[in-house]
Symmetry: C3
Subunit: 350 residues, 3 copies
């Protein structure tokens, strides 16, 4: 993963030289190691800050890359890109990550069992986020001449964020034992065992984190401008670009870890990561980006179109079906993947 950092200077160079189309692909490659590193540094901080504060940090930091890119996109007025990026991230986690993991894991093992306790609360929170989106969209559809759906969106977003923090209290404090917390980049977990000066290490990690964060801001800014360019030059819709690119750059770490876990028969962890990550986008990133509008003036609301809502219902419904019996077969992975491709087809033909 670290070797991909080579694309960081290349991307900036190409951007300065105005090779926008080539730069677009290079920038995507450059964001991948940054996104992966931020996840790694967060794990190290979490470990040092102790269980509760660390858990809180770890839970929310996974979405930093998506949030930064979405923030720049909002600033450029690319509302459709941000909204379809959020939907794409959730669907990607629930159908693509889970689908590939279960399919590949199932080819290796005849049957993979997991504990249903872990992900159940996250499904509950996902259902609540879905409720918020459906109610906001139905409200807009039913009373489209009525100008209150901005207030409606703000109100629902505040409720969702509130329950998100209640969910953190539940999983970090009152019902800790029901959850597993692990480094999302388990392949890098060996790093942690390095002995040595703790304070020095903390300081070095902080420096590294600040630099990575600066890289992310630079690249995020470039990426959003390139998406705008690609969209205008090649006639791709913001919807299509959003549903594909935002999830890709934001979740690569989760994607690769989940598949590795499935191949090691740790399907528990793999489902935990996919559902947890989908839940955080729906219940934290989504309402958070809506509320940003209150302070800055550029805004999206919580309502989505019929095709997006239908996709979301299908993604949550199918992954809940697969989850429900506590074991997985390869055919269930195939069903999740097939439904992902069916939904993606619609965005392709849009």
């Amino acid at each position: 993963m670290k070797y991909l950092y080579i694309f960081l200077p290349v991307s900036i160079l190409l951007y300065k030289l105005n090779f926008f189309t080539l730069c677009f692909f290079v920038t995507i490659l450059a964001v991948i190691p940054i996104s992966s590193s931020i996840c790694k540094y967060t794990d190290i901080f979490s470990e040092q800050l102790g269980d509760k504060v660390g858990g809180l940090l770890n839970a929310t930091a996974g979405n930093i890359p998506e949030l930064i890119i979405s923030y720049f996109a909002l600033k450029s007025g690319m509302f459709e890109l941000v909204k379809s990026g959020l939907i794409g991230s959730i669907i990607g986690n629930l159908l693509l990550v889970e689908g590939i993991s279960i399919f590949l894991g199932g080819l290796k093992y005849n049957e993979q069992k997991f504990s249903r306790e872990f992900a159940r609360t996250n499904f509950g929170l996902l259902f609540l986020a879905l409720t918020g989106i459906i109610i906001a969209s139905t409200y807009k559809r039913s009373f489209f001449n009525n100008g209150n759906f901005k207030e409606m969106s703000y109100g629902i977003s505040i409720i969702l964020l509130l329950v998100y923090f209640l969910g953190l209290i539940f999983s970090l404090i009152t019902h800790r034992n029901l959850f597993i917390f692990t480094c999302k980049n388990e392949e890098e977990a060996i790093d942690k065992n390095v002995t040595g000066n703790r304070q020095l290490r903390f300081f070095l990690t902080l420096i590294s984190f600040i630099f990575t964060f600066l890289f992310l801001i630079i690249e995020g800014n470039i990426l959003v401008k390139l998406i705008e360019y690609i969209s205008l030059s090649y006639g791709f819709s913001q919807n299509f670009l959003g549903i594909i690119i935002i999830p890709m750059v934001g979740n690569v770490a989760e994607y690769s870890t989940a598949i590795l876990m499935a191949l090691k028969n740790k399907i528990n962890l793999c489902i935990e990561i996919a559902i947890g990550s989908g839940m955080q986008i729906a219940l934290f990133a989504m309402p958070f980006l809506v509320l940003i509008g209150l302070t800055y003036g550029y805004t999206i609301d919580l309502s989505y179109n019929l095709y997006q809502i239908t996709s979301l219902i299908i993604a949550i419904g199918l992954s809940f079906f697969v989850f429900q019996d506590g074991k997985t077969f390869w055919i269930e992975g195939a069903i999740l993947l097939a439904s992902y491709f069916i939904i993606a087809l619609g965005y392709l033909f849009m």
Copy 2:
């Protein structure tokens, strides 16, 4: 609860003196003890009439206050009030009552377990009622120039009532053992142990019941007229008043009992009451009020608007999700309450 009877004469007096706005709130307070007493007297009758007839009486009598008030509202042509009152009662039972009970109970007990056998049939019947409402509404939406949806509503209502009575046969006769029957006002259950002349007691209860019923008719009549006044004077929609007031006056007894049960760790009973009460409104009160139109000419149909149907699907779906694993945590109560507030927000901004 009994002290609230003081509001009965006050309400009538204020009505005669034309203090309508104040009278509105007093009347609501006056209906609460009446609604609670009717529930108590029904329990006493049930006990004396034996298992089967008593069970039948007990199951249907819980809805008497809502039915009386809805009847007067229908007579005054307030169709929207009645329809949104029915939806509000179901949502109130499934999200608000269950939500508060599970949340408060969960704060006291780390985990509350209940038997999944009990409420499962009631969920099946709720799903059937939902089917009837969705089909009637989809039919109306799909063929809105076609005048047959009145016949459609009558047909579906007859099927729903038929299955409601089949459900009573199932729970009272063929599969009695799967259900628990209890006084809905358990705090008043001590009354029952009073020894003495059985016949005299039955007679006295009958007299009390007749008086309470008369009070209900007087107050129901006043309440409907006041709602009309409030709606016109203050510009509240019938939808908003219906979704808030009808459930409040009809279900206060269930609300308070369910919460008390949850705090005593009797979450079984609490879920049984909430689901059972929601099912009775959906499968009995709703089609019954539609069929009343056949004899009297003033009528509502079974079709509801998109926002109401969406709310109903979410309420039934979320409470089924919480019910499914046979145990509850406080976060599940918070999820139910949050979804209630999200739905209520839409009615507020309507």
Copy 3:
């Protein structure tokens, strides 16, 4: 069942004499034994061809009668008939067959248990087919000016057929042990035990099969022309005729076997047949008939109207609810039947 073959010559005679209305009912009676025989012969072939090829044959041959009749109807341009026939077949299997079996079986036995392992994969495949239909229809609804929904339908159909074959590999090869394979006409199973010349028997079965297949083509052709006549003369819509007649002629064998099995307390087999049959129509017959359009020019797409989709979601949802707890009571059969009648009411009043 065999005696019904007498209606075969009667139907042809009446058709030649132009007694169309009478002929219509006689033809339906004539198709029933043909449909049943094809199912029986397929079982015999399957047995002789060995586990894997036989299983494949058995799985797909159950839909031959529906496919032949749908093919002739497509050729005559009766697209609505074919589409509502497909929906009717799925709903008929999931609500009517399952409903009658569970209701009648439940009247005889207090509680019927079955293994949840068997039908679970079929439900997963059904949910995928539903995903395809919903996405195709939502796409059409959302972008109705956009001409790409033909390509969309073809793409989704190919994905569905692919997963159908993956499902066969799963159930016939990699996870054989999770499934039960049996003669769908168990009452005729004694035939199989006849000893004698294997090759002669195979040859005789082949001859019989070819003749039965020819009968099916003749009668299918007549039936489609009669439906057209009935539709024009009596003013019934293609939708109404499709939803009633196509399922009736295609699934009589499954219907009678399922009910017999339920009365013998073999509810496992009964649910397996109903769900499996519904899945095959949704995941094989439906996309197959869409793709036929690619070669012949007469075509249907995968999108359905709101009423049809709602019916389908209700049928799959309710039968999954009943299936989920691994046991059935008569009231659950009554709920399935009631929802079937509610849906049928809409087609009657259409």
